[in-house]
Amino acid sequence: MPETQNRPLLTPAFLRQLEQLQLVARRVLKGQQHGERRSRARGHSVEFADFRNYSVGDDFRYLDWNLYARLEKLFLKLYEEEQELRATLFLDASESMGFGNPVKLDAARRIAAALGYIALANFDAVGCVAMGTPDEAASDADGSAPSVTSGAVLRPIRSRKMSHRLFDFLMNIHPAGGAELNAGLRKHALSVQRGGVAMVFSDLLEPAGFENGLTALQSRGCDLCVFHILSPEERSPDFSGDFRLVDSETGAAEEVSFPRVRRTVYEKSVASWCASIRSFCRKRGILYLPVGSETPFEDVVLKTLRKTGALK
C-alpha cells in the first residue's frame, strides 16, 4: 500500500474527464432532497408531466387558469419532481483486499473515488462504507472527521467541493480482519433509508457468502453494482509445489500439492466460481463487473462502465 500513500487517488486531468460523465440509474430514484434527476414523484420543477382534477386542499398555484377560462373546470398541472441520486459505495476492507500485485484495495478505492466524484459532480449524494472489523465507528454526520479505522462510514456528502472528504476517507482505509460481507451489507441496508445506487467493491472471498447481503440491499430499493476485484495471482497462481497455505483473514491452513500442470484445473475452478456469481447477479438484475486488480482503473471507468451503461 505504499503506492497508495504516495500517489494521489485521481489526477486533475482524469478528474476533468470524469466531470463529463453522469451516473445512470436504471430506475427513477427517490432522494431526500431536490436534485437534478427526474423522479417518479410529481413535484415542483419545470418539466410538465400531466393534468388532474382539482380537489379540495390543492395548491391554487398549480391551477391551470387558461384551461379554466376555456372549459370552466378546475385542473391542476402536475410537474415531474427532480430529486438527487444517492450513491453508496461499499468497500471491502478485509485483510484479503490488501493482497495482490497491484493491491486489490488500491484498485477498489480508485474506482470508488472516480465514481464518487462523478456523482458529486452531478449534485448527487455520495456515502461510503468501509466494511471490515465489526467495531465500526461512524463518522460525523457531515463527514468532517472521518475515522480512518476499517469499517468506518462516510455519511452522504454533496457537491464537488466535498470530494476531498471522500478521497481522504478512501485513502485512510486499511485492510484488516474479515469483512463478513453478509452481516455488513445487511446492517447498512437497514440504515439506507431510501433507494439509490449501491456499489460493492469486494473480492467476495467470503466463506459465509455474500448473497444475503446483496439481497438485503436490493430489498431496500437499491440499484446494485458489484465490482468483483481479483488479483492476477488469485486467478492464476505463479507458484507451484507443495504448500501449506495460510488464510490471511482467519489464519486457517490448507495443505495443497500444486504442480505446474494443475494450474489449468485451478483456473477452471476460479472461472466456474465467477460464473456462478455472474449467474446469481443476472437473475437479480445486479450489474456484475469482474475487475482485475492489474487493469488500469481509467479503463474500467471510461470504457467498461460506459459500455455497460452505468455511466453516460
Binding site: G100, D242, L245, S257, Y266
Partner: protein, 611 residues
C-alpha cells in the same frame, strides 16, 4: 522372461511403504495467501476428479518407485532362456572343410556353424575360457584360450572355409593335448560330420557334437586324370570319376575343356550314391589345362570343377648299361612305351641324358643325370656297403608300395646279396633279416631303385614277378609320372615343383587372384607351395621359369556331404548331435545398473528443483 528367485518379488510390497514415507516426509512450504477460499474449491474439484492427485506428476516419487521396482526385479534374478552349456574351458572345433560350404542351410553350413559357435561364446560366464580351432587341411588355433567374448566373436566372424578336406584327427589330437591338465574341459564340434576318425583316438575329452546341414544334394568330381590311352599308344585320354552323393537321382551334364575349349559333353543320369567314370579321348600334342565341369544344381559348388595340367605325350628313354643279362634285356624290351638303348658299361657317357638309366652289376665313376635302377651297384655317395650276405631270406615286403604292386616274392631264392646300410633317402621295399635287399627313394632330384643282389645269382628272373617288378619300376622311375604327380595336388597339400635355375624369390598367383611373393633358401632345388587352400590353377613364376599346377578337392568324403546326426568316435563310442543345452541368460546386472542410473537421475532432479 522368467525368474530364478520369484519370492523376491514380495519386496514389491515395500512400494506402498515408499509412498507412505513420501507422504509423511513431504515438506510443505508455508505461504500466506489472501484467502484459502478459492483453494478449498480447487481441492474439492481436484479430489472429485482425481483421488490420488498428490501422487500424480510427482517425478521424485515416481523415480523412487522405479528404483525400487528395478531393485526388486534384480533381486528376483530374471532371465531369458537361451542356449548354452556352462563349463569352465571349452574347445571349439570349427569344421572349415569344403563340405561346409554347402548352401543347404542358407547362406552356408559354415555360416550356420559360426552362428552356433558365437551363441556358445555369448553364453560364457565371466570366468569361463574358450578356444577356437579351425579345422581345414590342417588344424589351426585361430583364437587361443580367452575369456573375452568380444574377441571370440570377432575371430569367429572373420573365419573362412577352405576348399580342402578336414584334418579332424589332427585337430582332435591338438584339442586333447591342449586340454591336458585343464579341469572341467569340454570340446564342442561344429561340423556336418563329413569326415572319418581313426578308431584309436583318445576319447577321454568330453565331446559335444553340434551338427549342421539339412539335406544331401550334391554331385562331385572324385577323380580327374589325363593318361595314356594304352601302354603302347601315344594317344591320351581324360579319365573322370563322378559321384552322386544325393538322396535323389540327379541328371546333369559333364563338360570337359582343354585349354578352355569344350572337347566333350556327357549327359549323366545318376542314381543315389552311384559312382560313374567317363573316358574321353584327348588330342594333346602340346600340353595344356584340362578342366572338368559338372553342370548340376546342387548344394556344393567346389567339387563341381576340377582341373589338371596335361603334359605333352612323350616316350621316355631308357639306357641299359650291362655286361650282359638276357633276362633283364628281355624284361626291358617288352616295355613298348619306353625307348630302350643298350650299351656296354665302359661306353657310359655321363653327358648324355636319359630319363631312366639301368646299371646292371657295374659302378661307374660318375653317374649320368636321370633316374636310376641300380642292380648290385654301389655308388659311394649313395649307399654304404658293409659286406655281403649269403642266402638271404626275404623276411619283409613293403606292401602298398608302387614297386610291389602285383608282385609276389614267395618263391624267390637268392644266393648272395650285398649287405648295405639303409640310406636316409630311401625306404626298404624288400629286406632280409639282416639288410635291405631292394631300396627305393628320392635322392636329390632323382629317383632311385636299388637292388642289392645280382639277378643271375637268384631265381627271380625265372619268376613271373620279375617282369612285373621291372614294369612297375620303370613306371615309378618315369619322370613324367613324377612330374604329373607334382603338377596336380589335393587342396591343402604342399606342391613341390622342380627348379631349373637358382632363384631367391618366386611369386604364386592363387585361383582367387591373390599374388604371394615368397623367398627361397639358398641353393634350393625345388619350390614348395603350401598355401593351396583354394581349388584351381596356381601360376608360379620363379625368375624366367613359369610353372602352373592345379589343386583339386577330389575328396569323396567331402563330396558325400550328407549331414550326419552322429559320428563314430573312438573304438566304440558314438557321439550324437544335439542342440545347445538350455541355459539362462540373467539380466539382473542390467537391472541393477538401470536402478543406479535412475538413482543418479533422481539425485540430479532433486538438486535441480531444490536449487
Amino acid at each position: 522372461m522368467k525368474f530364478l528367485a520369484p519370492i523376491m518379488l514380495l519386496f514389491a510390497l515395500t512400494i506402498p511403504v515408499v509412498i507412505a514415507l513420501y507422504l509423511l516426509k513431504l515438506k510443505r512450504q508455508v505461504r500466506v495467501v489472501s484467502s484459502t477460499f478459492l483453494w478449498r474449491r480447487f481441492l474439492l474439484d481436484s479430489r472429485a476428479n482425481a483421488p490420488f492427485q498428490k501422487l500424480r506428476r510427482n517425478l521424485l516419487l515416481l523415480l523412487q518407485i522405479l528404483i525400487l521396482l528395478l531393485a526388486v526385479f534384480a533381486l528376483a534374478r530374471p532371465f531369458f532362456p537361451t542356449r548354452a552349456k556352462p563349463s569352465a574351458f571349452r574347445i571349439v572345433l570349427l569344421d572349415a572343410s569344403a563340405s561346409m560350404q554347402s548352401a543347404d542351410v542358407p547362406p552356408s553350413r559354415f555360416e550356420a556353424a559360426k552362428s552356433q559357435a558365437i551363441d556358445l561364446a555369448n553364453s560364457l560366464r565371466d570366468t569361463d575360457r574358450m578356444m577356437v580351432i579351425l579345422v581345414g587341411s590342417q588344424p589351426s588355433v585361430i583364437c587361443p584360450a580367452t575369456s573375452s567374448r568380444e574377441e571370440l566373436r570377432r575371430v569367429i566372424r572373420v573365419a573362412q572355409p577352405q576348399d580342402t578336406g578336414a584334418a579332424m584327427e589332427d585337430a582332435w589330437r591338438l584339442a586333447v593335448s591342449l586340454a591336458r591338465d585343464q579341469p572341467d574341459t569340454e570340446a564342442h564340434l561344429f561340423s556336418d560330420g563329413a569326415f572319418t576318425l581313426a578308431p584309436d583316438l583318445a576319447t577321454h575329452l568330453p565331446l559335444k557334437y553340434h551338427p549342421v546341414g539339412a539335406r544331401a544334394r550334391n554331385v562331385g568330381i572324385t577323380g580327374l586324370e589325363v593318361r595314356r590311352a594304352s601302354a603302347s599308344s601315344a594317344e591320351t585320354e581324360i579319365f573322370l570319376a563322378v559321384e552322386n552323393a544325393s538322396d535323389t537321382p540327379m541328371h546333369f551334364d559333364a563338360e570337359l575343356y582343354f585349354n578352355d575349349q569344350l572337347v566333350a559333353v556327357r549327359p549323366l543320369a545318376m542314381k543315389p550314391s552311384e559312382e560313374q567314370t567317363l573316358v574321353a579321348p584327348l588330342n594333346n600334342p602340346s600340353g595344356g589345362l584340362v578342366k572338368a565341369v559338372l553342370r548340376a544344381q546342387d548344394d556344393l559348388a567346389v567339387d563341381n570343377i576340377a582341373t589338371v595340367v596335361s603334359r605333352p605325350a612323350r616316350r621316355p628313354t631308357v639306357l641299359l648299361a650291362s655286361v650282359g643279362n638276357s633276362f633283364l634285356e628281355r624284361a626291358l624290351a617288352v616295355q613298348r612305351d619306353f625307348d630302350l638303348t643298350r650299351i656296354a658299361p665302359a661306353r657310359l657317357d655321363k653327358s648324355q641324358h636319359y630319363d631312366i638309366i639301368v646299371l646292371d652289376d657295374t659302378t661307374p665313376d660318375e653317374l649320368p643325370s636321370g633316374n636310376l635302377l641300380l642292380i648290385r651297384t654301389s655308388p659311394k655317395d649313395m649307399i654304404e656297403i658293409k659286406g655281403s650276405e649269403k642266402l638271404p631270406v626275404i623276411s619283409d615286403v613293403k606292401a602298398g608300395h608302387p614297386l610291389t604292386r602285383f608282385v609276389q616274392f614267395d618263391n624267390v631264392d637268392i644266393a648272395q646279396s650285398l649287405q648295405a646300410r639303409l640310406p636316409d633317402w630311401g625306404v626298404p621295399v624288400v629286406e632280409s633279416k639282416k639288410s635291405p635287399l631292394i631300396i627305393a627313394g628320392q635322392h636329390g632330384l632323382r629317383r632311385i631303385v636299388w637292388i642289392g643282389f645280382s639277378l643271375l645269382e637268384s631265381n627271380w628272373p625265372l619268376r613271373l614277378s620279375f617282369p612285373i617288378f621291372i614294369s612297375n619300376a620303370l613306371r615309378w622311375l618315369d619322370p613324367a609320372s613324377d612330374q604329373d604327380r607334382m603338377l596336380q595336388v589335393r587342396t591343402g597339400q604342399t606342391a613341390r615343383l622342380p627348379l631349373s635355375k637358382n632363384v631367391t624369390t618366386f611369386t604364386v598367383e592363387t585361383p582367387d587372384g591373390r599374388k604371394l611373393s615368397l623367398e627361397l633358401p639358398p641353393k634350393a632345388q625345388e619350390i614348395a607351395v603350401s598355401q593351396t587352400d583354394r581349388a584351381g590353377v596356381y601360376r608360379v613364376k620363379a625368375g624366367e621359369q613359369s610353372l602352373q599346377f592345379c589343386a583339386n578337392l577330389l575328396n569323396a568324403e567331402e563330396t558325400r556331404n550328407k549331414p550326419r546326426e552322429k559320428i563314430e568316435f573312438g573304438k566304440y563310442q558314438v557321439v550324437e548331435g544335439g542342440a545347445l543345452q538350455a541355459s539362462n541368460l540373467e539380466i539382473w546386472r542390467w537391472l541393477a545398473l538401470s536402478a543406479f542410473a535412475v538413482l543418479l537421475g533422481e539425485w540430479w532432479y532433486y538438486h535441480r528443483i531444490a536449487a
